[in-house]
């Protein structure tokens, strides 16, 4: 163990001293550090923040970096960064590239009539649901019954026709038989 002589130069003097506090300062809250960076803290409130910044070399550099960044115009962020961040909230980001066509416009919210009324959109959805339900009924039970009726009518007509045809045939036979042919 050596004890170095107190140097004469200011810088050497400082570096020969143990400037780290015996007890590490408490971590600084982000809000406190932001307030300190803006110079909004009183001398009393700023002291613990300054002690913490002084004790942490990374925080010392960060404070200067942030002050520098906040004081000058910044370049635009990459488009990918913006797109990814936007997608974190809501689901509209998934529709960023909307489907074209009239139906796509209608799905996106009433663009069909040039407005974006939510009530109009809901009304149209209800009409669409009604059309689908009616169509399902017709294609299912309704049309099946109709077809059955048609089929039944066809058979009864065929039966009548064949009966009529048979009667006519008998009468002609009887006519020829009656004449002795």
């Amino acid at each position: 163990m050596t004890i170095e002589r107190t140097p004469r130069n200011d810088k050497e003097l400082w570096r020969s001293l143990a400037s780290q506090p015996a007890v590490a300062p408490a971590a600084v809250a982000e809000m406190d550090l932001a307030a300190w960076l803006e110079g909004r803290l009183s001398e009393e409130a700023a002291a613990p923040v300054e002690a913490a910044v002084a004790a942490d070399p990374a925080l010392r550099r960060a404070a200067l970096d942030l002050a520098d960044i906040l004081g000058k115009p910044l370049p635009a962020a990459p488009e990918r960064m913006v797109v990814r961040a936007r997608a974190l909230v809501g689901f509209e980001a998934g529709r960023a590239a909307p489907a074209g066509g009239l139906f796509g416009r209608w799905l996106r919210g009433g663009g069909l009539f040039g407005g974006s009324s939510h009530a109009l959109q809901q009304g149209m959805m209800a009409v669409a649901a009604l059309v689908v339900a009616t169509g399902g009924f017709v294609v299912g039970g309704g049309l099946g019954e109709s077809l059955a009726q048609q089929r039944e009518g066809y058979y009864s007509k065929t039966e009548t026709a064949s009966t009529t045809s048979a009667t006519t045939s008998n009468e002609v036979s009887e006519f020829f038989a009656g004449d002795g042919i």
């Binding site: 400037s19 002291a47 906040l70 990918r80 936007r86």
Partner: protein, 185 residues
């Protein structure tokens, strides 16, 4: 930055999609700059930088915007607070990445070694210097920063920094009875 200050924070904290999109556009340049500056010395890939920036946005909106709701406009501007949060997130991202990818065997021994030389330093008594004096001396001598940079950070003029520095050294010299250097030969 001006756009960032015009964001409706209540709508943002409610999770309003349009407000969030506007916030992202306004905040992205700042978050991008802070994350890049924080990670600059670690030579990370562009993908890592984008991931770290995404972590900032995730942290802001996570758990129903819990972090965002802690922001107090009375205490600091949104850009300043956001820059502090971005830096914290970038450091967290770096720590997670290093823990996940750097086995202890890959770390050079020199980085893990402890210097054998021990020099006993004189301790500065508590209360001898103010926190600001210590901070200024550290910036000047440990970080070797320019007086104007420190003045800008602390929002004072350069002369105030010089004066604070001078008073701090006077107190140190008085306490440790530092002799004046011998003049001449």
């Amino acid at each position: 930055m001006a756009e960032l200050n015009q964001i409706d924070l209540r709508a943002l904290a409610r999770g309003d999609k349009r407000t969030w999109d506007a916030f992202v556009v306004a905040a992205a340049p700042l978050i991008n700059a802070v994350v890049r500056r924080t990670l600059a010395s670690y030579r990370l890939s562009e993908e890592d930088v984008l991931d770290a920036a995404q972590d900032v946005f995730v942290r802001l909106c996570a758990q129903d915007f819990r972090l965002l709701k802690t922001y107090d406009p009375e205490r600091a501007g949104l850009p300043t607070w956001l820059s502090v949060v971005s830096r914290s997130c970038a450091i967290d991202h770096l720590r997670r990445r290093r823990q996940a990818t750097e086995p202890i065997d890959d770390v050079p021994e020199a980085a893990l070694g402890v210097e054998d030389r021990h020099v006993e330093k004189l301790k500065i008594p508590d209360g001898l210097l103010t926190a600001r004096q210590v901070l200024i001396l550290k910036y000047l001598y440990d970080e070797e920063r320019d007086v104007t940079d420190i003045a800008k950070l602390l929002a004072v003029d350069a002369q105030t920094i010089r004066s604070t520095h001078h008073k701090a050294l006077q107190r140190l010299r008085a306490h440790f009875r530092e002799d004046e250097p011998p003049r001449g030969g």
